[in-house]
Amino acid sequence: MSSNQVKPPRIEPAVPVRLPHRRRRAFGILGLLLVLGVVGAFATAVGSVQIPFLTILQVMFSKLPLVGITPNWPETTETIVLAIRLPRVILAGLVGAALSLAGATYQGLFRNPLADPYLIGVAQGAALGAVTGFLFPFDWPGIGVGIIPFLAFIGAVLSVAIVYLLARVGKTLPVTTLILAGVALGALFGSIVSFLVITSGQAMQGIIFWLMGSFSLSKWSEVQVILPYVAVGVVVILLYSRPLNVMQLDEEQAQQLGINVERVKLILLIAATLITAAAVSFVGTIGFVGIIIPHVVRLIWGPDNRILLPMSVLTGAIFMVSADLVARTLLSPMELPVGIVTAVCGAPFFLYLLRRKKRAVFF
């Protein structure tokens, strides 16, 4: 029995348990990438001007290097596809991915199913910045982008920074305090925004349209600005998906398992805030995606963040591209705010899933 004796070689039992996330992850990611490709191509093909699907593919592939396709389509077709629809579809995908991932991250970080990307003041800060931009539309060429997205981004980041500083106790950041500070500051900013909106006169319609979210003014320049934020944010957050799993235990246990809880919290908070701020600053505070898509993913693929986070990225992108497609085609030529579509299409689907899988699925 003593450990000083040489033990006979143990025959290791093969582990008969498989990890759910490994089984599902590879298939799920490939499948969703395929769906995203199809939905994206379809969304590029559909619009007020009918363009055959084949032509769309030809136009897109002709821009790739080493592909010799001679143009046999009018110049306007190429403009519609490449300068109007494609950046819009890509922007919708990026924003959907960002909001959905940020929502999943906040839900994991706060261990709270009601968390969404706007919980700690991002949306209200962005709105306050944007409304300021609408009311004082001066142009400042030095910033490279329009004044409204610039101020919205500053507003979003500043408000989370204020919430963070208010909620910090010594070296730690208690999650409950963070949420409460965020909700309170959000309410304050929200009421200032409401006041500015009702006193804004002619600018009111533009402001309201922005608040509900729209991709109607999407350009490649916007894709260029958002892409780095979303790309870096997604990579950082996905890298921390295993620590985020461990943090689903309480913080004490996570620390006892060797996680630097405060550091992980701060990194994830910054990453999720930056991708949310970048997304909303151009297209407005689109609701619903950030809270519901992670739950849809959780219902289908389970709670492991190593599958939840990447699936949220892809599902969010697919959902937003589809929602924007509906927003611009349903009452064509009139365009709906995409935020309305996300809720009207998403809520019934989510309720259906909720009823079909009646077990306690959230946390």
């Binding site: 029995m1 003593s2 450990s3 033990k7 070689p9 143990r10 290791e12 039992p13 582990v15 008969p16 348990v17 990890l19 759910p20 261990r111 890298l239 921390y240 295993r242 620590p243 799993n245 461990v246 689903q248 235990l249 309480d250 004490e252 246990q253 620390q255 006892q256 398992l257 060797g258 996680i259 630097n260 959780r298 389970g302 709670p303 492991d304 190593r306 306690a360 699925v361 959230f362 946390f363």
Partner: protein
């Protein structure tokens, strides 16, 4: 496979020594542990006993650096734990918290596998070896049959055994347990404490355990620390610590210590109506 086994056995021989040096612990302004000094010898099973609020759990939290000392130090092999990075500390000390909260939708196996966290870098995922270590730990704690069940469906006793499997998976050199038997019936109490005792004896693991049940403490621990209001009231072997005088001074219950009929260790028997105020 045999190579890694030999490595594991070598690891087992490296035991560590824990020390508290004039340790004072406080929550905000209420001091719960005052100037506590004690040592845990390598490979020893040390029991912390004392009434509710005497500071037992707080000491456990301080040793895993979840709360910071108000003053004084905690040393592992002479090194201040404040200077040990958290992953390294988690490879030295594993904790079984009292009533641990677990995310209900994870499977039992996933929870146990989380014990490998301090051994994995940020970019690493669990490999076959990690899975095997987890599976063996579940074998030792009799939880393999629960592996694919959701944690939310498990009973308190099953969760307790699962968290012990997780701490075995962590492969620390010292294990701290906070009331590991409080959720269990008497059969499982003995099962769990037998297991912990075997970790101590066969795997040379240093164990610190808080226990409410003085009889279990007497049966299983090599040495006991009796705490009263955050101060050390007595320490020594169970026979030295659990005697009528100490029990009366700390708990205010008189004349209730007897010798165990089989092994002669001190045993506390309670009698209805036999209680007086702790004042002497």
């Amino acid at each position: 496979m045999s190579v890694t086994n030999r490595k594991d056995n070598e690891r087992d021989l490296l035991v560590i020594k824990l020390e508290a040096e004039k340790l004072s612990l406080a929550y905000n302004h209420s001091v719960v542990v005052k100037e506590l000094t004690f040592q845990v010898a390598p490979g020893e099973m040390l029991g912390l006993i004392g009434p509710n609020g005497s500071g037992k759990s707080t000491v456990i939290k301080a040793f895993s650096h979840v709360i910071l000392p108000r003053s004084g130090k905690i040393l592992i092999d002479g090194k201040d734990i404040a200077r040990i990075p958290r992953p390294e500390l988690a490879r030295l000390i594993g904790v079984v918290p009292q009533m641990p909260l677990l995310p209900s939708t994870f499977t039992a196996f996933e929870i146990v596998l989380m014990g490998r966290t301090p051994h994995l870098g940020l970019f690493q995922t669990e490999g076959t070896r990690d899975m095997e270590i987890s599976w063996q730990a579940m074998g030792r704690t009799n939880t393999q049959s629960l592996a694919e069940r959701k944690v939310g469906e498990l009973s308190g006793g099953e969760i307790q055994r699962l968290v012990i499997a997780r701490v075995l998976t962590q492969q620390p050199k010292a294990i701290l347990l906070d009331e590991p038997t409080s959720n269990l019936d008497i059969n499982h109490q003995v099962e769990i404490l037998d297991l912990i005792k075997s970790l101590c004896r066969e795997d040379n693991q240093t164990v610190v355990i808080t226990l409410h049940d003085l009889n279990l403490a007497a049966q299983y621990c090599d040495r006991l620390l009796l705490l009263k209001n955050g101060q050390l009231h007595a320490q020594g072997t169970p026979a030295e610590v659990i005697n009528a005088k100490n029990i009366e001074e700390v708990y205010g219950a008189e004349g209730c210590v007897y010798a165990h009929p089989v092994n002669g260790l001190p045993t506390v028997l309670l009698q209805a109506g036999n209680r007086r105020n702790g004042k002497k």
